[in-house]
Symmetry: C2
Subunit: 125 residues, 2 copies
């Protein structure tokens, strides 16, 4: 799985491949149809599709003679699961840091409030 | 932005770099601290960190002498925005396809129901 995750991230690290994926969300399409709008050869698009296929992001129909390319959108879940897991952890950490900072502020306010000397001008925040 | 998106995807297409990001969700850490658990040189980890830094995923503190590495977790949003946009489109398409198939089934049922001749065995689904 870790390896497929690397392949999926690598596959989407190219604007043309991301564009192919975006177009395949609308409809299945043949390699020729997919290559049509780009200023590159069908062979170049075939290579990009191979990278997407090896990452599991697209499949080619084995039935039809034209073998249209089909998006396997559920592979997105691999990435979002990874991203969400660590985003949540980072958020929890920031929330804990905020709490610590708030506690420190409260403690400082208490210290200044109970102090017999007024807070010094130069040190006031 | 498209370029940063490519860099972020490429940066996470490596298991060691994903592991570094995962560890930085817990706490900021120096390059030496980050390199410690791996069986590779500090230089190799520095290179990985450079890739993460160029993608905007981590920053190094300019203040402290040890220059701890800090995760910029909000960069995850770039990826999730892209992924969610196309996942939603793909889902809408499948939902439309399901609706079309349901309509076809209903029409076929109506045709068979109102037909004066019984459905032919060989053609029944």
């Amino acid at each position: 799985m870790a390896d497929q995750l690397s392949r999926v991230f690598a596959a989407l690290a190219d604007p043309t491949r991301r564009d192919l994926v975006a177009r395949l969300t609308a409809t299945d399409a043949t390699v020729n149809e997919l290559a049509e709008p780009y200023d590159v050869s069908v062979q170049a698009i075939s290579k990009h599709l191979k990278v997407l296929e090896e990452a599991g992001l697209v499949t080619k129909s084995r039935k039809a003679q034209t073998r249209p390319v089909h998006l396997e959108a559920e592979v997105f879940d691999l990435m979002t699961a990874w991203i969400e897991r660590y985003r949540r952890r980072a958020e929890q950490r920031y929330r804990r840091l905020d709490a610590v900072l708030a506690d420190m502020k409260d403690a400082e306010a208490d210290r200044l409030g109970s102090s017999t000397t007024p807070p010094q001008e130069g040190r006031a925040s």
